[in-house]
């Protein structure tokens, strides 16, 4: 048995590629399959993998042995480890970057940190989005006469993008801004036939929470984007989304929130268009 058994995936990969041409036919076949379908190797059984690759289980074991492992099981460990590593890498990388930035490792580290924070957040939300909530929110917003957009401070930039996108899609909307100090009046116009998108993260801007409370008491349904089920925003909301944004240097990423906000907006636009089409069909029918 070979002394130098590849114990990490990259080494293993290189080793396989090197020997590729000196391997017997069936072994080469399983080798190619392994590099093409590493996930299958990680999770499958010897029998299932062998079947998918079109070889016998014993060939799979011989392949492992040729590489210096003492059996399929130990080869499989390498493929499993790879999945583990990959998965934790974002968090680890972010932690490393934070440490770097702390010890004053230059401005590039700051940039990398923000990129990593954004990637982490996106990665996280893509696995966590509750599809039912998403559909509920879209249905709710698509019905609304006017969509009010409510967010302060950090979240305000998301709100302004939502307002911009809704405008582009010709959906009536109102950004609740504090510039002229007329928020209370603005809010008082909202009716149960309207809807609100409210965004707030800890530490929750008191004004945002207060306005959400008032507007929900008027019977206006709220879709909330916030950071935990304990958020004061969640209690006023008909539908709410939990978005965990990674932070860097004291500033949280907005990438996941932005992606969710845009998806909501565009999906609402699409749903309205479909509904509009149906209404139009009915109209033209009544004309016949």
């Amino acid at each position: 048995m070979d002394e130098r058994v590849p114990r990490d995936f990259e080494t293993l990969r290189t080793t396989i590629l090197e020997r590729r041409h000196s391997l017997p036919k069936r072994i080469a076949q399983i080798a190619a399959y392994a590099l093409d379908n590493p996930d299958d190797i990680a999770f499958g059984t010897a029998a299932s993998i062998a079947a998918s690759a079109g070889v016998q289980p014993s060939t799979l074991i011989r392949f492992a042995q040729q590489l210096g492992f003492d059996g399929f099981t130990s080869l499989q460990l390498v493929f499993r480890e790879r999945l583990r590593e990959r998965n934790s890498s974002y968090d680890e990388r972010l932690a490393a970057l934070r440490a770097k930035a702390e010890e004053g490792a230059g401005h590039r580290a700051i940039f990398d940190g923000f990129v990593a924070a954004a990637s982490t957040s996106l990665n996280d939300i893509s696995g966590r989005l509750n599809e039912d909530h998403f559909e509920d929110a879209i249905a709710l917003l698509a019905e609304a006469e006017t969509i009010y957009v409510l967010a302060k401070r950090r979240s305000y930039s998301v709100a302004s993008y939502i307002a911009y996108a809704l405008g582009k899609l010709k959906i009536r909307n109102q950004l609740i801004e504090s510039a002229a100090g007329l928020n209370a009046e603005m809010i008082s116009f909202a009716s149960p036939r309207d809807a609100v998108i409210a965004i707030s993260f800890s530490p929750y801007a008191p004004a945002a929470i207060e306005e959400a409370r008032v507007i929900s008491e008027q019977g206006v349904p709220i879709v909330a984007i916030t950071d935990s089920s304990f958020s004061p925003l969640a209690q006023f909301a008909k539908v709410w989304f939990e978005v965990a944004e990674a932070d860097f240097a004291g500033f949280r990423s907005l990438s996941a929130t932005m992606a969710l906000a845009m998806a909501l907006t565009v999906a609402v636009g699409e749903k309205r268009r479909d509904a509009g089409r149906k209404t139009q069909d009915l109209d033209s029918f009544s004309l016949v």
Copy 2:
């Protein structure tokens, strides 16, 4: 057995969290362990997991059964699927999304599309950032008395976040807004001792370009974030960054722009802090 067996990780997670308080002690123990160590569930054997969680293998199976699975094995599949999904590369994900979109998938595809666009943009910028330009921009902005932030329409949300962050860092700044129609006056206050961060992407908002022109003619240095060297913004800028944002459904991602903007802001804050410290040192020296 329950009719509605959670077949994806998120549903499973939610289900567990819901039932959390009504579960018997040992079952709750393994439930908490499962959510905390999903990777272990995916890879371990019933015996090894049970040992790590401090329960008997049979308890682990009972836990799975309470959730509606017919045994540990089917529960484990959900945890494995999660790793598979998470791990598939963005390219693969995008390919899958296109396939889905073609067969007329629902709103989830829209969300995935925005997440993918954001990821792609981040990926792209992290390899493309010109470090020299980055340092130049930071130096330039760190010297400024007031940082003016100029952006319209889509880019306005980035500008508002920059303004928020600068404020948090106690850096004097002025967001050039059009609400009161006093932009021209606002701009006329800027002097060569100040600096501008200007953001605009094709199709460039005429107002943004015009204001950039005026302010640069006053001798105020501009740091621009835009999308190509042909951008009209680039010609007025002392330093400019090219950011290529992927778009989805007609709306471009802002994730890369946001990351760059935040990195600039925080780096400027840091540089000022360092400079302030040095000045203080010099002062105390001159007093001796």
